[in-house]
């Protein structure tokens, strides 16, 4: 039931080869251009991941998986908040690279639920509850 976790997923096609995208994901200076204001990342399993954001907040975590030009996964959390996992997957295309981002709260138990199964349900409930949910 490991895949049944709540998560947010985003996907984008970038107009650059996987090699360049990988550099933007692992080079601290480049990470500071898009992921955070300042980034420290040791791109190896167990390596340190540390980010400072424009609003002054910080997130600290640990690198989980590194597969060059394919996958980078790490945990991060603001101090005192529960950790989430971030998974960045690259898929080389004929022209450009598809980047899939998944951020999830690690499953607390076997009953945890995938956001994919939850999404439509949630918006239906959101309507019923007059919640603003886009």
């Amino acid at each position: 039931m490991n895949d049944q976790r709540r998560e947010v997923e985003r996907e984008t096609v970038l107009d650059a080869p996987a090699e360049e995208v990988w550099e933007a994901l692992t080079d601290e200076r480049l990470l500071g251009e898009w992921l955070a204001d300042e980034a420290e990342l040791e791109p190896e399993p167990g390596g340190r991941a540390s980010f400072r954001f424009a609003d002054g907040t910080e997130k600290e975590g640990t690198v989980l998986r590194v597969e060059e030009e394919r996958e980078l996964a790490f945990t991060w959390a603001r101090p005192g908040e529960p950790e989430t996992e971030v998974e960045l997957t690259l898929v080389p295309l004929v022209s450009g690279t598809r980047l899939v981002v998944v951020e999830r709260i690690p499953a607390a138990g076997p009953t945890a639920l995938a956001a994919s199964a939850w999404g439509p349900r949630l918006s239906a409930l959101g309507r019923a509850l007059s919640l603003v949910f886009a």
């Binding site: 049944q4 709540r6 947010v8 985003r10 984008t12 970038l14 107009d15 650059a16 360049e20 995208v21 933007a24 480049l30 251009e33 898009w34 992921l35 529960p82 989430t84 980047l99 981002v101 951020e103 709260i105 607390a108 138990g109 009953t111 945890a112 639920l113 956001a115 939850w118 999404g119 349900r121 949630l122 239906a124 409930l125 959101g126 019923a128 509850l129 919640l131 949910f133 886009a134």
Partner: protein, 105 residues
């Protein structure tokens, strides 16, 4: 973390049905819910207890009856987490797209 408890509570399809029924804005009794669902009253009571633990459902005594109603607040937490984290990644990926466009000329 509230969002954790909410997702765990809603992992069960029967409990999601119950929440949908309650989302209609009505307060119901356990027997009322049991009448609408193909499960025993005992099972309804068990699921209601799980929903109460997640604070998705609150109870009120009306005379001799216990009536259940949906509490939207924890559900709001779950929705907020998904909306906030999703919006953060939308922003970051837009920045990444611009960064790479600039690099490749």
């Amino acid at each position: 973390m509230a969002v954790d408890a909410v997702f765990a509570a809603l992992a069960d399809p029967t409990r999601r049905r119950m929440v949908e029924t309650l989302a209609g804005g009505t307060t119901v009794t356990a027997s009322g819910l049991a009448a609408e669902l193909p499960i025993t009253r005992q099972a309804v009571a068990k699921h209601l207890a799980a929903l109460r633990r997640a604070r998705l459902v609150s109870t009120k005594r009306v005379g001799r009856e216990t009536r259940y109603s949906l509490d939207a607040e924890p559900l709001g937490d779950a929705a907020r987490w998904i909306a906030t984290v999703g919006a953060e990644w939308d922003d970051r990926l837009a920045d990444l797209g611009r960064l790479l466009e600039g690099r490749s000329g």
